[in-house]
Amino acid sequence: MTDLTTGDLTTLSIAEAGRLMARGDLTSTALTQAFLARIETVDPALSSYVTVTADIALNAARQADMEMGGGLRRGPLHGIPVGLKDIYETAGVKTTGHSHLKIDYVPAIDAETVRRLKAGGAVILGKLGTHEFANGAMTPDQPFPPVRNPWNTAYQPGGSSSGSGAAVAAALCMGAMGSDTGGSIRNPAGFCAIAGIKPTYGLVSRCGIFPLSFSLDTAGPMAWTTEDCALMLDVLAGHDPNDQASARAPKVDYGASAQRPIKGMRIALARSWYEDSGAALSPDMAKAMEDAVRVMRDLGATVEDVTLPDIRDYHICGRVIITTEAHAIHRRDVIERPEKFGYTTRRRFQLGAFLSAEQYISALRFRRKLQQDTREAMRGYDLVMTPNQWGGPEIFEDPAPIFHFLGKPSLSMPFNVTGQPAASVCCGFGADGLPLAFQLAGRAFDEASVFAAGSAYERATPWRSHRPTL
């Protein structure tokens, strides 16, 4: 066995830990114990977990050790400790959506994604904080404290997969599940300096995950490296007959794709989105973006400016769809028990009552047009590259705006509207020490190219060796 310290264990990547366990140099039990100890010590300052399932985790870890000791290897997540955003139904474990409305809800069966994780031998450490029902901001009137950013607890971690982003960055789990309807994986991934991918719509089952917007919701992995996200997706991807949007996509070895060179890859740079849309990147983000483009070129990729549809078109298209569908989902509760919602969530869910059927259908028609126009603009290119965020995260104490969409257009929404896979990749830190990130988006079901480019960038830059001090 290795003589790794607790700190060493919790900062291993999933790929590294998997190799050590496969060689018999590390046990899942030791790994899980290290994470549980760190959660107890560090998480009170972050509040990333709403429920820690220590006994369940230790039992799963011992089971994994027994299986691996007997020569059974379930896959890349066997024995790996992970966390779940608290909108993933988990058998026998409270699943609250970070809301008073579901505060005592204990599902009888697992979400399909949770079932796949368990079948792959993953160890579930617990449930992670989220914006209420993956939509509302974190407000003091919710049942759990708001999650803080591990790089500086005076800042927010982004959302809605806030606990997932903070827990991975703080080394409180090796990977986490998030969900992304308008950027909710990529936003906290970027603000917490981790990797996260919104897979192609339909690649990963949403069955058993609290919905926000049926036609835009995606579930996906978040981890310290892009390669680790690829290993998680290897376990998660696949058709599910119980999710009517689930696609029958060919099986791909995503872990292997993360090792692919990117020489000759063609990348469309969506410069007009961040230079011609009336909003501006922070100076740090603008410089980090230019540096990232240079790294991609040095790695042998061709990066060219390409004109895509106006980012404000995607922004409003997605927002009308989310507002309308979220209202339909939560309508009964906002009528009968409005006081149970946080004040921001409630108003975001109420707003859909004022939109007409014609406005919703126009947005759906517009989505198809944007999808087609984006595909046409990407012709001849493997990926789209664009910043993940306009600048740093918001200050923790600043009240979240009730209608956040009235600010700058969302840089993540385009790929929710088109359904393409899109990943957040850390590309450095601002003068204030807060993380910066860019996005890579592939063609539908071409997660492999996203993983190849993201991993190549991470190997060529020093950012994966920086961890927050806690």
């Binding site: 719509y201 106006d310 404000r312 409003i316 409005p338 109420q350 939109l355 517009f366 209608f403």
Partner: protein, 64 residues
């Protein structure tokens, strides 16, 4: 374009809110009015005129 929909005054919005079935405080109505008018402004970017047979996807599929 949806710009043909005129932004409602607070009074007009309050009358409409009464028909939604929602239980709303005066504060709720004020916030929702501001949000709706803002959304309406952004929605000017969404074309309103479509071919009558332009059918949106029933279940959106990225691989279609």
């Amino acid at each position: 374009m949806t710009s043909s929909i005129k932004a409602p005054t607070l009074e007009e919005f309050r009358a409409r809110a009464a028909l939604t079935g929602l239980t709303l405080t005066e504060e709720d109505i004020g916030h929702l009015h501001k949000g709706y008018v803002g959304l309406l402004g952004l929605m000017e970017r969404i074309p309103q005129r479509w071919s009558w047979a332009a059918e949106p996807p029933q279940v959106f599929r990225a691989d279609e």
